[in-house]
Symmetry: C2
Subunit: 463 residues, 2 copies
Amino acid sequence: MRHRTSVPSRAGAPPPVPTARRSRTHLRVTSVGSVTTALLTDQYELTMVDAALKDGTADRRCVFEVFSRRLPDGRRYGVAAGLGRFLTALTEFRFGDDEIGFLRDRNVIDEGTARWLADYRFTGDVRAYREGEVFFPNSPVLQVEGTFAEAVVLETLALSVFNADSAIAGAAARMVSAADGRPLAEMGSRRTGEWNAVAAARAAYIAGFGATSNLEAGRTWGIPTMGTAAHAFTLLHDSEEAAFRSQLDALGDGTTLLVDTYDIEAAVETAVRLTDGRLGAVRIDSGDLPSVVASVRAQLDRLGATATKITVTNDLDEYTIAALRAAPVDSYGVGTSVVSGSGHPAAGMVFKLVAHQTPSGDEWVPVAKKSADKASTGGRKEAGRRLRNGIATAEVVLTSGRVGPDERPLLVPVVEHGEVDPAFLGVAGVEAARAHHERAKAELPADASRIGRGDPAIPTLVI
Amino acid sequence: MRHRTSVPSRAGAPPPVPTARRSRTHLRVTSVGSVTTALLTDQYELTMVDAALKDGTADRRCVFEVFSRRLPDGRRYGVAAGLGRFLTALTEFRFGDDEIGFLRDRNVIDEGTARWLADYRFTGDVRAYREGEVFFPNSPVLQVEGTFAEAVVLETLALSVFNADSAIAGAAARMVSAADGRPLAEMGSRRTGEWNAVAAARAAYIAGFGATSNLEAGRTWGIPTMGTAAHAFTLLHDSEEAAFRSQLDALGDGTTLLVDTYDIEAAVETAVRLTDGRLGAVRIDSGDLPSVVASVRAQLDRLGATATKITVTNDLDEYTIAALRAAPVDSYGVGTSVVSGSGHPAAGMVFKLVAHQTPSGDEWVPVAKKSADKASTGGRKEAGRRLRNGIATAEVVLTSGRVGPDERPLLVPVVEHGEVDPAFLGVAGVEAARAHHERAKAELPADASRIGRGDPAIPTLVI
C-alpha cells in the first residue's frame, strides 16, 4: 500500500506539526490518542475503506474536488475560508489505539483495516483556492489527490471546515461592504457552538472584520479582541453611576460605556460628566437604532463630547448595517447573523470523486454521478479568473488544458507528498488570507457588493 | 474572596473530573494549560471581573438565568439541550499559565485578576431544566448562583452550548414528529463545524433520532452510528456491479446499497440479483422522492425483495419528511436541516443577571434591564409545568413562592457547591435526557406536534 511503506509507523515519533509562533490550533497534537480529528468522520468513509482494501481498489490514485453547485440564494459571490484550519486538522488526523478500539468494538472495520488506519498518514497532494479567495458555482476550491483510501477519509473533515467557515466569511464580506469603511467587530460567540465560535471569529476577520470578542480566537489566531461590559455589570452595582465609575477606574476614560440599561439620555449625561467629555465611546444595544443614534450623537455634541464615538450592537445584519449608513455610527458589533452565515449557515460545498487512475496506473478516468438533480462534471479541473483591466469577467473552470494568459490561476499547491506548506497555517496564514481576500474582492465588478439579491457577479465557464 | 479560600490553589492537584465509562468528552482535561474551555469566553466578561475585583463587587452573590424571550417564529415548543456538555465544559474551565499570559499580554486583566483567574474554580450552585425538557418563552432553563465574578465568566460558554444544542434538538424533535414512528438518522456532519457536528449528533439523538453518521459522537456519547457507502465508491469501481459486489463481500447482504449513481432501475435490479433478494436496504439520495420511492418499492416487490427496505437522504427537513408520510419509506437520513436548526441555527437564549445580594449579604435585590425592546423580569425564578390529566396546560414561572401541587417542578439541582452531579454527564446523561425528552413531549397537547406554524403550545404565566 502506497503510504504504508513511505511513512514511519505509529510506533515512531509523531510527525512534526508545522507551527508558527502564537499559531497553535485550539486542539493541539500532543500524541496519538490524546486529541485527534480522526473520528470527525462519517462512518461510511471507513466502511468504504474497509471494502476497498479487500477488493484491491484502495490504492487506486484518485482526485476528489470540493465545490458548490450554487451560491446561497441571491448571493453574488462566495468566500473560501477554512483552508488553514483544514490543513492543521489534517496533521492531527491520526488513529490511535482508542479510536481503533472503538471502530473494532462497533464492527465498523476489520483487523486489516485497523492496521491500515494505525499507520495512516496522508501522503498525497492538495491544491486549493487561497484562503479568502472569492468563489462561484462549480469553483474547485479544494482538490485532493491521493489513493482512494487516504483521500476518501478526509471528506467529512474537509467539508465540515469549509462549509462552516465559508458560510461565515461569505456573510461577513457582505457586512463589510454594507459598513462602507466603518469598522466591524464579531461578537457572536454566544450564538454558535463553543468551538465554532473560534472558527467564526477567524472567518469574519479574514473577510474584513476588525476584531472579535472571542478570547480563544485572539490567542489561537492572533485576532484583535475587544469588549468592555454587559448590562449585568450595571445591574450589579447600586447605581449606574457607580458601575460607570468602576469601569472608568479599571479601563480608563478611553473605554466604551454601555448606556442603555435604564435610560439612555441619563446614562449619556452621566458618562460625559464622569469623564469631562473625554469618554472613548458609548455602546447602544437596543431600540430603533437610526433614531436613537442620531439623538445620542446630538446629545454628546451638545455636551462637548464631540470625540466620543458611538458603537451599536443590536441584532445587526448586512441589511440593518446598510440602513445605518446615514446615521452617525462609528462602528458595529455583529453577533448572530455573522456566525450563522446570515440565513445560510452552510456553504453548500460537496466533496466529489472526479477522476481515478486505471488499475495499471497509466491513465486517468474522469467520473461523475449522472443521476437526477446532482449531476457534476468529471475530470481534474484547472481554474482561473479571467480579468479585463484588472476586473473579473468570468470564472473559468477547465477540464483539460491550462489557465490562459488573461486568467489569474486560482489553484495553488498547499500539500505536497503529505507535507503541509506552513505559509497557510497559524497567524501568518490568517493574515495572508485577510490580505488576499481584500485583493480578490477588489477585482470583482463594482455591483458585486450590492446587498440586494442577484445572480453570481461573474459567470462560471466550465470548458 | 469566597472561592479563593475554599478551593485548593492551582499548585495543587487538578480536581477530579466526573466521568462515566465511555463517557469522555471530546476535549479531555489532561492538565491545566493543555485543553481548556476558559477562553471560549467573550472579553467583556473578564474586563467586568477585573473592574469588579477592584471595586469590591466581585464577591456579591448573584443569580444569573438563561432563557429565551421567544421561540423561533412559528415553533410551538423548544427543547433544552446541552446541559451535559455544559457541565463537562465547566469542569474544564481552568486558566493556566498560557491563558493568563495571553490575557496579560493583551492587557485584558491586571496582575490581581491574573491571580484570581489562576485559582478559578466554580464553587456555586446550578439548577436547570433536565436535558431534553421542552421549554417555552421565558422558561428559566439554567440558573447559576455564585459570586458575580465566578458566575459572570460562564456566560459565553453556557450560551454557546445551550443555543447551539437547543437549536438542533428543537428542529430534530419536529422531524421526529413528522416521521411518525419511522427511524431517523442524523448525517449532517459535513454541513456544520467539525466539533459542532459531534454536539449536533448528540442533540438530535436526545430529541429522538436513532443514530448518527458521526463516529466521534459514537465514541464520546455512545450514540449508535451508521453508514455504508457514498457515490464515490461506485464511481471508483469499473462498474456499479463491481462496487456492489465489493460492498456486499465486506458488509454482507444486510447492508444498504446506494442505487442512484447512474440509473436507479438498473441499480435496483443488480442489487437484488446479487443478493438473491436478501438485500437489507437501498438508499436513494436524489430525485423527486415520493415518485422515485414508489417505483423502487414496486420494483423491489416485483423482484421478490419484499423485505428490502428503502432509506432516503436527499436534503430532507420536517416538511419533506411529512410529505413522504404516504410513501413506502422505511427510514430517513437528515443532514443540513437538522444540524442548522432548520432555519433557526441559534435558540435565542440569553444569560441575564436577575438578582444580587446587598453588600451586607442579608437581602436579595431583583434586577432587570429596563430599556426598550429587551426588558426582562428580575428575581430568582421557580418554574413548573401545570398539568391537567397528564397534559400540559401552562408553563408557570414564579418570581416568588413555590411550584404548586398541580405543577411538575422543572428546575433540578445539577451543581452544588461546585460539585457537578455525575448523573447528568457522559453516556448515561445522554440516555437519561433522551428518555426525559420523550416523557416531556408526551405531556404536550396533541396539536403541539403539528409541523405548521403556530403559537407556543402552552402559555407562559410569569407570576
